[in-house]
Assembly symmetry: C2
DNA sequence: CAACTATCTGGACTACAGTCCGGTTATGAC
DNA sequence: GTCATAACCGGACTGTAGTCCAGATAGTTG
């Protein structure tokens, strides 16, 4: 996973804003056969994952269902986590765009409608939980297929940067000195797919959401007394 | 992993205290050859892990180094995570005993020396980080070898119960109503080996410790205004 | 001591992720 | 159209986790 894939391969945001967060890739003109195979694989993977579950489908099965060799599959997507990431790409990008450019409180909103960092953080956690819980199996696969995957993929850096930025803004006026970087990591820890998976196995999703929001409130309160 | 192995196979605490936390196992009399093989495997595993790293050693290599068949290895330890857990057993048990019976502030201390729940929580997090960071590779293997392993092993239940108990005591007098169970999970999330591994990869251990303690303080403060 | 049985043993076996490379094909230049 | 070349293709191959079961063995009972 290279730096240029911060938001996934072939992303392409509306240009102009927030270059820090979005590194654009110059489209490396994909060959026609490669494009055909790419979409055949994604289609087959979506179908098989849907019917047999993410864990119940082998890469061989996906390759043969897509009418494609195994080498091709791995060449295009790296590994199973990469394939899951590609399938999530669209939804994830939608969320990221709403965060960067969308309405308040998730996005920055209009100038006369600017939400507080705390409000945005709240909205982010709610939106992220909604996204992750809806696609939990895929997110989990993208984060745990190989050890450490979660922290290597571009999406994590995006979430971390966003949270750290909001925390920085929240503390700016309060005079509190805190390690926002580390706080952001700690805040993202209970949003990990592995953790969420274990939580929803024994609690109802609303309770998971409420508890996570309570933790966010506690952290915020300690930064803005 | 059965319920009777809450503190690892063949645990055996000093009897009498805190039966809720410690389920004793009646020793199922291990055969002599089995005992010999068990220690041969543990010895070989410790040696190989030490020299080639936890990730660089296959189960085949351990089996053949121990002069034992592969089936025996898996029969005794279940999987690679189980083997790692067995290697950690002694240290882990030591920590658990200090928590249950040890001196303040980690343990309950003497009657005339009782630490506050907050002090004990602080001490727990420090002691746990010390333990986990010292044996990070092994702990990580025990938690991530199979998906969801962390939340299945008995040790996690122990830590969670301990933290939840302390949080309950801390809130008892403050009149705050909170989901201590979920808070305890959230507090343990940044103590996961996967998270710690990613953190120490880019920060110095002291900073990881300080940040984690700051998060604990924030959560405590929100429960005891 | 001999027979009996529950437990243990070990290596062959399966399934899966991921790698490699000789052959193939799309695409751009002339 | 044809040629050169970079990109792509796919299936054989490797290494590893984990399973299975026929045979061996420790401990027990009469």
């Amino acid at each position: 996973m290279t730096e240029s894939e911060l938001t996934g391969p072939r992303s392409g945001y509306a240009s102009g804003a927030d270059e820090l967060l979005v590194l654009r890739t110059s489209p490396p003109k994909e060959r026609a056969d490669a494009a055909r195979n790419r979409s055949a694989v994604l289609e087959a993977a979506a179908r098989l994952f849907g019917s047999r579950g993410v864990d119940g489908v082998s890469m061989d099965a996906i390759a043969s269902a897509a009418g494609v060799g195994k080498g091709t599959l791995f060449r295009r997507f790296g590994d199973k986590a990469g394939l899951a990431t590609a399938l999530l790409d669209e939804r994830e990008r939608e969320l990221q765009e709403n965060i960067l450019f969308g309405d308040a409180p998730l996005g920055p909103g209009r100038v006369d409608d600017a939400p507080s960092p705390g409000e945005r953080l709240h909205a982010f956690v709610e939106a992220y939980l909604d996204y992750a819980l809806t696609h939990l199996d895929l997110v989990r696969m993208s984060e745990t297929a190989s050890p450490g995957a979660r922290y290597r993929i571009g999406a994590y850096r995006f979430w971390h940067r966003h949270v750290a930025l909001l925390l920085t803004r929240a503390t700016r006026d309060s005079g509190v000195h805190a390690d926002v970087d580390a706080f952001a990591h700690a805040l993202l820890a209970p949003l990990g797919a592995e953790h969420l998976h274990a939580m929803v196995a024994e609690q109802r999703p609303e309770r998971v959401r409420d508890a996570t929001l309570a933790v966010v409130n506690a952290l915020l309160a300690s930064l803005t007394p």
